[in-house]
Each structure stands twice: as C-alpha cells, then as structure tokens.
Amino acid sequence: MITLSAQPIDAPALLRAFENVVADAGAVVTFSGLVRPASTLGDVRTLHLQAYSPMTERGIEQAVSIAKTRWALSHVSVVHRIGDMKPGETIVFVATASKHRRAAFEAADYLMDYLKTEAVFWKKEVSSDAAIWIEPRTEDYKDAARWREGEAS
C-alpha cells in the first residue's frame, strides 16, 4: 500500500497495523526517516515536501512492483509525508514482509534508495535565515546504483 500523507506519520501505529496484516510472514523490516534538526544551513525550522500526483504514486508503485519481482515479499507498505513538517517528525515509513529476513531487509533498502533518488518529490529546508531546495547527494546516487549493478550480473 502506498500513501502520501499531509498529516503526521505515526510509525508505531503503522507498524502495528502492518504486523496484523502480515501475521504469517515470519519477517518484517521497517524503516523510518526523520527530519534532521540541523543541516548545512544551520537549524532547520521546517522541511517542505512537494509531490506531483499521480506521477509520484505511480513511480512508487512501479518500484514496489520491481521489489516484488526481485524478492519474495508478501506485503509492502510505503507512507511518505508531503507538505510542511518539523524536525523529528517522520518523513517516510517503509515496511516489507517476507518469509525470511534477508528479502525483507534488502527490499526495504532498495525501496529507500528509490525514494531518495528517483521518487517524484522535491524538498525545501527552511532555517531561521534561509531556504534552500535539497537535491540528492552523490552518496544517494551511489547507493541507488548498487541495485543496477546487481541487475546486470
């Protein structure tokens, strides 16, 4: 399931709901990304997230489909925040369920790399004296490239 939420994300509640649905899975991995309180700009007051529906949702759905062909996953949940959020709030929640842990770990890692570098979002950090649009770092692109190397082999 894929959700873009303008409301705060309650990761513990999402995990409980996910575990109820996937009771027979055996392995559940979740990742939560939180808004960092400090950046190159200094103190972050607000992080603003733009999406472009339905392109954003369609792209994430495609990434989930690819993950499901690559790993034996019974369930996947991706919840991404949009709009304005404060430091410490959850910006993204990813959960994967599988029979065994390795598939669940790797699929969650893969989906996060997709979300960081290819998902259709734009981020703006607003500090006390400046606002700057944040684009993926070189490390993010390198992380995402690991999965393409895997496809080639």
């Binding site: 734009w122 981020k123 944040i134 993926p136």
Partner: protein, 82 residues
C-alpha cells in the same frame, strides 16, 4: 491554454508554482518550451540543464517530443524524497 507547473527550485525561478499560458506558435516541442521559458525568466540556462526533465500530461517527454495536445506540462528539477 496550457497549465505549466514549476517544481523544486524552478518555483523560485518562475516566481510561481503554476501558471496558465497560451504558448506561442513557435513553441512546438518540449525543447523549444525549455528555451522559450529560460529566456522569459532570464534563467541563464537553469531550464536548459539536462537534469531538468519535462513531463507532458504526466508522462516524461524528450526535447524532440511535440507539445500538441498538452494540457499540463511540468518542469521538474532532480527529484528525491525520504
């Protein structure tokens, strides 16, 4: 009439996130739109960067693609969430 959307840092360059325009007859392709908008905003090439992608009616378009039938065009700088 075509709805043009500007995302990310292009919002700042355009001074708006969205506008509705009658495109001039000379703008027939996605690439021509790039050039025309770059001059219009005096963006100094910011819209010509290959990392800025164009979506026509929610599908990624190449510079040579025609804009005929375009209801909504989005100008998209590098994306990334999480």
């Amino acid at each position: 009439m075509t709805r043009i959307l500007y995302f990310g840092r292009l919002t700042d360059i355009a001074g708006t996130s969205e506008e509705i325009l009658d495109l001039p007859a000379s703008v027939e392709t996605a690439g021509e739109l790039r050039t025309w908008l770059d001059l219009r905003f005096e963006a100094d090439g910011a819209l010509l960067e290959p990392t800025v992608r164009i979506a026509v009616n929610n599908e990624i378009a190449f510079d040579a693609d025609a804009l005929s039938g375009a209801d909504e065009i989005a100008l998209m700088p590098p994306v990334g969430g999480g």
